[in-house]
C-alpha cells in the first residue's frame, strides 16, 4: 500500500516539476544535475551561473530552433550516486529534450552511463579526465563531448617553462582523487618526456590539513620545481607550510587553486611568484570574452572563474551544434559536434572521434604584484614570468 502511494508520490513530484507542457511551442528544456551543495558546491555554483547566462542571452536573441530554452537543474550534493538518479529522473520523468554535463570528473564518470543509455548528447564542460572519453572499443561512449583541456596537461606549462630554463628535477604532490591524480601523473609523464627527472611523487588524502611530513620529504629531495595537483584549501595549506619549512624551489606551480582570486586574498604577498594553471582567464583575447565578463559580472555581482566560462561555452557549443543540425536529434547533433570547429569566449573547441578535446589551450598564470599575469604559452602571454622564486624569507 505504502509502496503504491510512493509510486504515486514520485509520479506526482515529476508532474509538479514538469509544470510546463512540453508541446512544440513550449521551451526546450535542458536538464542537468550540478553540485549546488556538498564538497564541490563552490565551483558547481559558478558553473550553474555559466549555464544560466548562456540560456538568458540565447533567449534574448530569439532562442533555439524558434523556441525558448530553459534549464532544469537539480542538486546532486556532489555525490555520483545522486547524480545518476537525477539524470534518470530528468530524462524519464521530466522528459527533458536535452541534457548538459554535471560538475566534476567523478560525477560525470557515473552519470554518463545514464546519458549514453538514453542516447542523449551530453556536452560535459567540466569533465577533464581522459579516461572518461578514451575507452577500449567495446566500452566506447558515443554521445559525450569534452570542452576543457584534459587533466593530464594542466601542468604542462610549468614543466615546459622549467625545461626551457634547463631545470632538471621536479617533485609532484597531489590530492588522491580522480582529477588531481590524473593531473599529477600527466605532469610526471610530460616531465620525463622533456628530460626532467621526477624526484618525488606522492598523493595525500582529501581533506588533509597537515603537510609537514610530505614537504619535509620534498625538501630532502631538493627539487628545482614543485608541482602541486590541488583543489584549493590544500593549495593554501601547502603554500603556507612550504614557507614554514623553508622549502625554496626555483619554480612552484599549482593546478586548481593557484589561479583563483581568493588565493591571493588569502595568502597576500606569499602568493607572489606562484604559478597557477587555468583553462581560461578574463584577459585572454578570445572572441566575446570581454562581453562575457561584463555580462556575467553584471548578472551575478561577481567575476567569473574558469568554471563559469566553461559552463557558458559548453552550452554555446551545444546550442551551435543544434542550430547547425536543425534538430535536437542526438545522432545528428553528434555528427555536427564531431566536426565542429568553434571559437568561444572560453577558447577553441574541436574534438577527435572520441569526443575528446584537442583544440582548447591551457594557460599558466603567475602572481605578480597582486595581479595574475599570463606567462604561458608565449602566443597568449600578457607578461614575462618572474624567475626564479626568491627564498620565502627574502621577500
Amino acid at each position: 500500500m505504502t509502496l503504491k502511494a510512493l509510486g504515486a508520490l514520485i509520479a506526482a513530484t515529476g508532474v509538479l516539476v514538469a509544470s510546463l507542457p512540453a508541446g512544440a511551442q513550449g521551451p526546450i528544456r535542458i536538464g542537468a544535475s550540478l553540485s549546488l551543495t556538498g564538497t564541490y558546491a563552490k565551483l558547481g555554483n559558478y558553473m550553474h551561473e555559466g549555464y544560466k547566462l548562456c540560456a538568458k542571452e540565447l533567449n534574448a536573441r530569439g532562442g533555439l530552433l524558434g523556441r525558448k530554452v530553459e534549464f532544469v537543474v537539480y542538486d546532486d550534493q556532489s555525490m555520483p550516486a545522486t547524480g545518476v538518479r537525477l539524470y534518470e529522473k530528468l530524462i524519464t520523468e521530466d522528459k527533458v529534450e536535452a541534457v548538459m554535463g554535471p560538475y566534476s570528473s567523478p560525477i560525470t564518470e557515473a552519470v554518463v552511463n545514464v546519458t549514453e543509455k538514453y542516447k542523449k548528447v551530453a556536452v560535459s564542460p567540466l569533465a577533464a579526465t581522459t579516461s572518461i572519453f578514451k575507452r577500449p572499443p567495446d566500452k566506447k561512449r558515443y554521445y559525450i563531448f569534452m570542452i576543457i583541456s584534459p587533466a593530464e596537461v594542466y601542468l604542462e606549462g610549468l614543466i615546459d617553462m622549467a625545461a626551457k630554463r634547463g631545470l632538471k628535477t621536479v617533485a609532484i604532490l597531489n590530492e588522491d582523487t580522480l582529477f588531481a591524480k590524473a593531473a599529477a601523473n600527466g605532469a610526471a609523464e610530460i616531465a620525463r618526456k622533456k628530460g626532467l627527472q621526477v624526484v618525488f611523487q606522492e598523493g595525500y588524502p582529501k581533506g588533509n590539513q597537515d603537510f609537514s611530513a610530505i614537504l619535509t620529504k620534498i625538501r630532502a629531495a631538493n627539487p628545482d620545481v614543485v608541482a602541486g595537483s590541488t583543489y584549493f584549501d590544500d593549495a593554501v595549506a601547502i603554500t603556507r607550510q612550504m614557507k614554514e619549512l623553508n622549502l625554496n624551489p626555483k619554480m612552484y606551480g599549482l593546478t586548481v587553486g593557484g589561479d583563483l582570486p581568493e588565493f591571493y586574498t588569502l595568502l597576500k604577498q606569499n602568493a607572489e611568484y606562484i604559478y597557477g594553471a587555468t583553462q581560461w582567464e578574463k584577459a585572454l583575447p578570445y572572441p566575446g570574452n570581454k562581453e562575457f565578463n561584463e555580462a556575467y559580472t553584471k548578472e551575478f555581482g561577481r567575476e567569473p572563474v574558469y568554471h563559469s566560462a566553461a559552463g557558458y561555452a559548453g552550452c554555446q557549443v551545444y546550442v551551435e551544434a543544434v542550430k547547425r543540425a536543425g534538430t535536437l536529434d542526438a545522432d545528428k547533433v553528434r555528427d555536427v559536434l564531431l566536426k565542429l570547429e568553434m571559437k568561444t569566449a572560453f577558447g577553441d573547441y574541436r574534438v577527435d572521434q572520441d569526443g575528446f578535446q584537442i583544440a582548447h589551450k591551457m594557460v599558466m598564470t603567475q602572481w605578480q604584484d597582486g595581479k595574475k599575469v599570463i606567462v604561458w604559452p608565449d602566443e597568449l602571454a600578457t607578461g614575462k614570468p618572474r624567475y626564479p622564486m626568491p627564498a620565502w624569507n627574502q621577500r
Binding site: 624526484v199 588533509n208 590539513q209 611530513a213 614557507k243 619549512l245 623553508n246 597576500k268 606569499n270
Partner: protein
C-alpha cells in the same frame, strides 16, 4: 619515493608532531570532559571548533583584532553556544544508550555545518596574520604552530587547574566519578553538565581560533577534528583527563612519522589501527580510564 630519510628529517617531523599534538590534546580534552561527565560522545565537537574559527576570522576581518587576542573571545562565545546546546538538546540524552547521543550529536553536527554554509557561504577564509618559521639549527619551527602549541599548553594547564584546584572543578570530577554521590554531596548536577559542555565547547573554540591562522576556514573544516579527538581520547583513555595529553602528543607523532616513512594515506590507517589495537588490548586507554 626515492627519498632517503635522514635523522634531521625525523627530527623535523617529530617537532611538527609534538606541536600538532598539543593542539590535538587541548581539543580532545573537551571531548574527554563531555564523555567523562555525561557519557555522551559528542560528534558535534568538530563543528563547534569550526564556529570558534569563524569567530576568530570575523573578529580579525571585521575589527582587525589580533587572532591570538581573540582566543578568549572565541572561547567565551562558544561556551555560551555549548551551554545552550546542552540545555536545549543534549541534556535529554545524558545517560541514554550511546546510540542516542551519537545520533543526536551527529544531527547537531550536520545542522551546524549547514547553518554555517547558509550564514557564511562555503567560500574559504583565512586569517593571514603570521607566516614563516623560526629556525634553530637545521630545524624549522613554524611560528603559528609554536604559538598554537604555547596557547594550547596554556589553556590546557588552566583547564587542569580549574579541574584540580577549584570547587567547580572538584564538582565536575565528582560528577564524572559518581553522579549519585555528587548529588548527595549537594552538587547541582544539571548545572555541572551545562558548564562542562560549555567548557568543552570553549576548548574546541580555542582549537578553532588557533588553527584559523594555520589552515583555511570553511564550514566543513571541523569534521576531521571530531575523528582526531576520538583517536586521542581512546589512546589516552576515555574519561581520563591527563590521558588526553598523552593521546594528543602520541597521535601527532604517529601521524607525522607514519607520513614520513610511509605515505599520508597510510598514516591514517596506522592511526586507526593503533586505535583498534589499543581498544582491544587496553580498552581503558594507555593510562587507564573508567569502564562504562
Amino acid at each position: 619515493m626515492n627519498v632517503v630519510v635522514t635523522p634531521t628529517m625525523v627530527g623535523q617531523v617529530v617537532i611538527s608532531g609534538i606541536l600538532a599534538g598539543a593542539l590535538y590534546a587541548m581539543v580532545a580534552l573537551g571531548l574527554a570532559l563531555i564523555f567523562g561527565v555525561m557519557r555522551v560522545i559528542n560528534i558535534a565537537h568538530g563543528p563547534l571548533l569550526m564556529l570558534g574559527a569563524y569567530t576568530t576570522y570575523f573578529l580579525y576581518a571585521g575589527l582587525g583584532l589580533n587572532p591570538y587576542l581573540s582566543v578568549p573571545v572565541s572561547m567565551a562565545v562558544l561556551f555560551v553556544i555549548g551551554a545552550v546546546l546542552q540545555r536545549t538538546l543534549v541534556f535529554r540524552v545524558v545517560d541514554a544508550p550511546e546510540l542516542s547521543s551519537l545520533l543526536l550529536t551527529f544531527g547537531i553536527s550536520i545542522a551546524l555545518v549547514n547553518l554555517a554554509q547558509l550564514a557564511f557561504t562555503s567560500d574559504l577564509r583565512a586569517v593571514e596574520y603570521l607566516t614563516g618559521s623560526w629556525g634553530l639549527g637545521p630545524f624549522a619551527f613554524s611560528k603559528t604552530r609554536v604559538l598554537a602549541f604555547v596557547f594550547a599548553a596554556g589553556v590546557t594547564t588552566l583547564a587542569f587547574l580549574l579541574l584540580q584546584r577549584t570547587r567547580l572543578g572538584r564538582a565536575i570530577r565528582a560528577t564524572s566519578q559518581s553522579r549519585e554521590v555528587a548529588m548527595v554531596c549537594g552538587v547541582n548536577v544539571g548545572r555541572i553538565h551545562t558548564i562542562t559542555f560549555g567548557l568543552a565547547s570553549a576548548l574546541a573554540a580555542a582549537g578553532g581560533a588557533l588553527i584559523a591562522v594555520v589552515v583555511a576556514v570553511q564550514p566543513e573544516m571541523g569534521q576531521v577534528w571530531t575523528f582526531k579527538s576520538f583517536l586521542v581520547i581512546v589512546l589516552g583513555g576515555a574519561g581520563n583527563y591527563p590521558g588526553a595529553l598523552l593521546g594528543g602528543v602520541l597521535l601527532g607523532l604517529v601521524e607525522q612519522i607514519a607520513s614520513l616513512f610511509l605515505t599520508s594515506q597510510l598514516s591514517e590507517v596506522v592511526a586507526y589501527v593503533l586505535l583498534v589495537v589499543v581498544l582491544l588490548v587496553r580498552p581503558t586507554g594507555l593510562l587507564g580510564g573508567r569502564q562504562t
